[in-house]
Amino acid sequence: MWQVRGHDPLLRQLDKSIKEGRYAHSYLLVGPPQVGKGTLAINMAQAVNCLSPEQAPCGQCSQCRRIASTQHADVLVIGVGRGEDDGPSRKEIGIGDVREIERQASLNPYEGSHRVFIFDGAERMSEEAANALLKTLEEPPPQVMIILLTSQEGALLPTILSRCRRLELKPLPFSEIAKELVETHSMDREDAEMLARLSLGCPGWAISAAGDPSIMEKRKEELERISELSVSGLEERFSYASDLGSLFYKDRDGARDILRLWLRWWRDLLLIKEGAEEYIHNVDWSDVLRLRAAELSTAQVVAFIKVILTTLEALDHNANARLALEVMALSLPGERTGG
């Protein structure tokens, strides 16, 4: 049984090619974060190693179980922050990782029938690492499968893209995620629907938020600050920018997530302004959103959304995080006492 939710046509195709032994040796899984790429990759590793090929991946045999519990010696996940010796500050998958994989790939599988290397966040590969991988990617030794996962396909080298079979995982419909949450995580309907809406079609996020209340707790805190900042003075805005700036240097993804939260807040404001309130994501904040929306003109909302997008882009291009965020905080429409 494939554990990935949704994506049925894609799974049917994959299932068929694995059972018939006609699968590719290098795959590229494209899709937004938490949409199920990692789960699918693990499932694929199980499928090629499974001891009962008819039901592969059966999820029951020793191979499937060892892979699922990340104990399998032949299935390796390479990603940022997972490397040896490096702390969470690792920003890229380096050439050292690729060399190690080449070495391992040249050895026969240890306990399974295939070695599977999963690059989680393949866009984080340094250019030299990517180039070093090309040879193995194009013609891996027999019994080796390489799976690249990415949410930013455009950031990969064209030479990498052309060497992989591409599978795209699209966000799932809200209803499907809500159904999944109700059925397998026994949530009540209302909470499930809200999580499904917030998940942007990515079941991984919804499931982890369902299991870990601190995720929603953190979101609430961040949204409180976002909503307050619109009515606060220069001092708070500068201190917010500086906090977020220092977070960015410690945890880029965390800071980006907060900016995306900003983006969604302002998206909701725009929807309310234009009378399409039923589509907003932050349904639990609709009262506050309505209040804020009343204070702003559509033009102001659109302008600020552009500012957020520019800020995200500037950060991706290694702008000084604090300055970029200060510019954003200053462009925030609304009251600015003392300035």
Binding site: L76, E102, R103, S106, N108, E111, P141
Partner: protein, 401 residues
């Protein structure tokens, strides 16, 4: 689990498997060692997913059981104990191993055996038997020539071919090639052709020690693993996939100059030259010169002469040494990297070395000499090389002034 054993046995066993304990790893449990009772023995196993080593030590087993514990912690603790009896116990259901020796006691927290990668077993397959000391010689003559850089994984391995009653071991790194031909104790049923990681053979070499009972080697080519069975030690290694370059065509079939030299004299001169070579791109030059006068015993074109070994370091200075030799053919010049020259001279065992050269830009070939006599006492026919070993080194290009 409850048993007792001697400190020195446990310590030795842990040291044996210790080399297979992973150091850098993506699977943290491979830093553990697996302890399990096996009839009246204690079995220790470790694996780094490339090599797995298992050894058995004598123990009084009262209760069976198994556990994995951090290898380094256990090894260091046991090594620090006095040479006395150690009582090892683990309560059923617990994951803490208790060790008591003399007046020391320790508790080591372990992890379930299920999480440990399975130690590969090779039940049956193609088997071969090799004399341990002959195998050690073969390993030490070949393994150093394997590549250490991983840009071509096959070259980090050693090619092992078994056919009939013979085995051939070969390694190459793009600049040199070492090939050893040896004899098996019993002919193999079908030919075997594998590439082993160089590290595996180094470990086998180390663990063989003074052993005099034959090494058993078993292979299951389909699983890509090979098992070496030594005295109470089993080493299972993954094989390297790929095609090893066809090395036989790299061995020059002819030569213009063949010199036979006393190995120790040549080695000493090469060591001296390497001191200067160190600061001069590592180049050692060899000039092989037939004697100038006709007093040379010119039977079948062979005559005495000398090898001039020199090295030069710009701005530092230079040196030059001479060694007597016996030459067949013309005068010749060749330059080698000092590391390559010293390494091959160091693994040749017998008293004389044969060097075959053609031009300064074609590879030099080193071979041991057949038989035990001193070269000065040899007749013409006895100055032939031994076919058991051949070492080809690419020359360095230098300006010969």
């Amino acid at each position: 689990m409850k048993l007792s054993c001697l400190q020195e046995n446990l310590s030795r066993g842990l040291a044996t498997v210790g080399r297979a304990v992973a150091t850098r790893t993506t699977l943290p449990i491979t830093q553990n060692v697996l302890l399990s009772t096996d009839r009246s023995m204690l079995k220790l196993s470790a694996t780094n997913l490339e090599i797995a080593i298992t050894t058995w030590i004598g123990a009084m087993v009262e209760e069976e059981g198994s556990i994995t514990v951090p290898a380094r912690l256990l090894t260091e603790f046991v090594a620090s104990l006095p040479s006395e009896r150690i009582d090892v116990s683990m309560a059923p259901g617990s994951k803490s191993l208790s060790l008591t020796c003399s007046r020391s006691e320790a508790h080591v927290n372990g992890t379930d055996v299920d999480e440990f990668p399975p130690i590969p077993t090779v039940e049956s397959g193609l088997a071969a038997k090799i004399d341990p000391q002959a195998f050690k010689t073969a390993i030490s003559q070949v393994v150093f020539a394997a590549a250490t850089e991983e840009s071509r994984p096959v070259l980090t391995g050693v090619k092992l071919e078994l056919e009939g009653g013979k085995f051939t071991m070969a390694a190459a790194d793009g600049f040199r090639l070492a090939v050893h031909n040896g004899e098996l104790l019993e002919p193999v049923g079908e030919p075997i052709n594998i590439i082993l990681p160089a590290r595996t053979l180094s470990e086998v070499n180390r663990l063989l020690g003074e052993q005099d009972t034959p090494v058993e080697m078993t292979m299951i080519p389909s699983k890509g693993q090979v098992l070496f069975r030594l005295n109470s030690i089993e080493i299972v290694s993954q094989l390297i996939q790929g095609t090893f370059p066809n090395y036989s065509q790299l061995i020059p079939q002819s030569y213009q100059t063949r010199s036979v030299t006393d190995l120790q004299e040549l080695l000493r001169a090469a060591r001296t030259a390497s001191i200067f070579a160190r600061d001069g791109s590592g180049i050692i030059r060899l000039q092989i010169m037939p004697g100038s006068d006709d007093q040379s015993e010119s039977d079948e074109g062979q005559r005495s002469g000398k090898v001039v070994i020199s090295a030069r370091a710009e701005e530092m200075g230079d040196n030059q040494g001479e060694v007597d030799t016996f030459i067949e053919g013309d005068e010749s010049k060749i330059a080698f990297n000092s590391k390559y020259l010293l390494e091959v001279l160091s693994v040749l065992e017998r008293g004389e070395v044969v060097l075959e050269t053609t031009t300064p830009s074609s590879p030099g070939v080193f071979r041991p000499i057949r038989g035990e006599k001193k070269w000065r006492e040899r007749g013409v026919e006895e100055r032939k090389p031994d076919e058991t070993y051949v070492h080809v080194v690419m020359p360095m290009f230098v300006q010969w002034s």
